[in-house]
């Protein structure tokens, strides 16, 4: 630790204004503040502050994603790790470039995007495509809006949407059978022999319902981080308990999803799958817990969050059951992102009216 401190102190002058690497000051500061909490003091009242900062906040999301991530590595082999590394490397580079251009600090937001993005990709995806997707997601989903905090859409979903539309066959034609046993696929790069054509949601369109146990544990085909329902739920509950994810979004989207899916199922049990199956299959849970709850791209107001969740839950069921698409979560959340500002505006309008009457 001392050595690291010395390294920072001895190289600082190069990164100051006018120094050799003056332009890279944001990078230097980000690294220093990463290792050593920032030296900043409060300037005015309140003189003391809560220990929670954005780094910690984002760290919580990453911790919550760990079960699903580890499950992904276990099921789909070490190549999963490579996908994550590519995602972080490309996403991080773009973040740094923009921070340098804008002369702003590097934002922690990409730490989450960089991990969330691989989890919604199929395990067979070519590595270059991972890079392209994350680049698109960060650039178009975030940076052109002005960076973290100002983005309209969830960057990970923008990247995935781009790949889904641009490379449909790579994104949905080939799937891996998950590894099994004590070591799963942990000892291999990835199992080329275990290729198959369909996910549970896809099979369902053909009238085959996967069994509930394998959906819970994740021994079905699917995107890297979307199959292990138990891991996702554990992480999601953790996020809600730490107040990082807002429970209102989760309750309203899951609730509306369950109710509507049940209604469909009752109406025509042969055509529409049972509720539990709908909940545990595909990307619903990961989307509900980790993407719909992204605070920046969801409505700010609590009232708005209720409606937002309902929109997401409802649209997902409708897409899954009534269209040719097998998966509806991604479009539902992107749609939710679009209407989020309007929902906010409506709620704010009502609240301000009430406040203004209080003169």
């Amino acid at each position: 630790m001392k050595i690291l401190r010395k390294l920072f102190d001895s190289t600082r002058r190069h990164f100051d204004e006018g120094g050799t690497f003056g332009a890279f000051k944001p990078l230097y500061e980000a690294m220093e503040n990463f290792f050593y909490g920032p030296a900043t003091r409060t300037g005015t009242a309140p003189h003391v502050r809560d220990p929670l900062d954005l780094k910690r906040y984002m760290t919580m999301v990453i911790i919550a994603l760990l079960p699903a991530t580890l499950a992904g590595i276990y099921f789909y082999g070490l190549r999963t790790l490579a996908i994550i590394v590519v995602s972080y490397a490309v996403g991080g580079t773009i973040e740094v470039i923009f921070a340098v251009i804008r002369k702003e600090e590097i934002n922690e937001g990409f730490l989450v995007t960089g991990l969330l993005f691989p989890l919604v990709l199929p395990p067979t995806i070519p590595l270059w495509m991972v890079g392209v997707g994350v680049a698109f997601g960060v650039l178009v989903g975030k940076e052109i809006f002005g960076g973290t905090g100002r983005n309209l859409f969830n960057p990970a979903l923008v990247g995935r949407c781009f790949l889904a539309l641009g490379y449909p066959s790579e994104m949905s034609a080939v799937w891996l059978k998950p590894g099994e046993g004590l070591t799963g696929s942990l000892l291999q790069w990835y199992d080329t022999a275990a290729v198959t054509g369909a996910t549970p949601l896809g099979q369902a369109k053909l009238g085959e319902w996967a069994n509930i146990g394998s959906l819970l544990w994740g021994t079905t085909t699917g995107c890297i981080g979307e199959t292990c329902a138990i891991g996702i739920i554990l992480g999601g509950i953790f996020l809600i308990l730490t107040k990082v994810a807002n429970w209102r979004t989760v309750v309203s989207s899951l609730g509306s999803f369950v109710i509507l899916a049940a209604a469909f199922n009752i109406a025509d049990p042969d055509r529409f799958g049972p509720v539990y199956w709908h909940v545990f299959a595909g990307g619903l849970l990961l989307g509900v817990f980790f993407m719909a709850t992204d605070p920046v791209s969801s409505p700010n107001t609590n009232g708005g969050k209720w409606f937002y969740g309902i929109i997401i839950g409802t649209v997902t069921v409708l897409i899954r059951n009534l269209t040719g698409y097998v998966e509806g979560m991604m479009f539902a959340i992107l749609l939710g992102n679009i209407v989020a500002p309007m929902l906010d505006e409506a709620v704010v309008y009502v609240r301000l009216r009430r406040l203004q009457n209080e003169r």
């Binding site: 630790m1 503040n33 990463f34 290792f35 050593y36 909490g37 920032p38 030296a39 900043t40 003091r41 409060t42 300037g43 005015t44 009242a45 309140p46 003189h47 003391v48 502050r49 809560d50 220990p51 929670l52 900062d53 954005l54 780094k55 910690r56 906040y57 760290t59 919580m60 600090e105 934002n107 922690e108 937001g109 960076g147 973290t148 905090g149 100002r150 308990l241 730490t242 107040k243 990082v244 807002n246 605070p295 920046v296 969801s298 700010n300 107001t301 609590n302 704010v348 609240r351 301000l352 406040l355 203004q356 209080e358 003169r359």
Partner: protein, 459 residues
Amino acid sequence: MSQITKCEIQLEGKPADSVLEMPEPRKLFIPLESVRFSFDSVEVEENRSVQPGQVLARDLNNFSVPLLAPRAGKVKLGEIKNHIVLDEITQQEEEPYDHREDEAHIPQEMGSVGLKRYKLLALGAWQFVYDAHSSKLPDPFGTPRAVIVSTVNLEPYTAQGEAQLQKRLADFTRGLEHLQSLLEYQPIYLVMPDINSEFSRQLRESIRGYAWVKPVQIAPKYPGDNFAVIARKLGFNKEKDSPVWAMRTEAILAIDRALTLSKPSTVRIISFGGPMVKEPIHLKVMPGYPLKDILAERLESGPVRIIDGGVLTGAMVSEQQKGLTAECNGLTVLQEHSEREFLSFIRPGSDRQSYGKCFLSSFRGAFKERLNTALRGELRPCVACGFCEEVCPAGIMPYLIHKTLYSGELEDVEQMRVDLCVGCGMCSFVCPSKIDLRGEFVKAQEDIERELHAEEVQS
């Protein structure tokens, strides 16, 4: 209006209820500026001897509220910038109040009530009274809708009513009677903690039989003690020209002193606490008491920040300030942050408490923390986590006001009722993006008053 959510700030160094009487000072350094007042109109000359209770200066923008000499002494004006220095201090009996010249200001129709109210102003008791909604000094001759008297001070750390009232409960009830004699029919709400302590039992006992005093119990959770929060809870919304008066224990004691003994209140009991104070306690002091003498030998070693008031709303005491201000009700001493912690954001954190339950401490009960002046993170754009709204006692939307302050017009900000912000500081405290929300809103309130309502004030 939202409830006070569970976000408690537990700071080390709570002052004990006991009161330490500070030794007589040899010199007093009385700052001309305090939180609400600036005593610009100086009424004494260099080297003049003054009597205790004599007017040193007035704030002409605040109903000419006077700055009184706490002791007899010799005036030095130029010695320290923005201070009146009293040298050669001697302790003398205050001259009893006589019907002094400016009684012409009293509205005729008020009669004896007007005389009494003027006496409060002249004897320095009125400066302890607040407009509950704006926390400004109300017009002493105005008509309030109601009066709130609070014995609760929840901000860490400001003077506790309990400490100030020791052995003075009889004076307190007599002060309440005086207060009532100034009013017509308006109710007096007496705010006390909703816990069964000896103190609240005595308090309840002492006001038994006063039908005009309505006890109000509040949970001892900051910022529930804020006057505006209490007023709105009691159903008194902000209304122009019809204020709610609010005051604390010391105001009632000062009123009693003024109207029973006709003497000025210059000595007061303040809190002295915070993690860097060796023995946190209450102090009996007077305005102008040399800070040096208070702090010497009483602090832990290391860089410190002295705060006039509590940690959430108090103002930093500058190097230039040499003595206690006229309004000071507590000194809080924090350590200035200097040590950077290795990989702080991934520590388990059983030693730090947070509103967001992101630290291991969530599994243990509440404990007192040794907080310092660290910002504890880096400034970031708002991520819309919503914490600020959840903790705001005013029921407004801090993040929205913050965004509008950057992009919109001041009129829009006014529409969002930034005027309801009571400046409690909870939003800034919890914000993970470390945005100075409270500071922005306090400034916006001033800007709105100056730019949008300038004409109203003049007319």
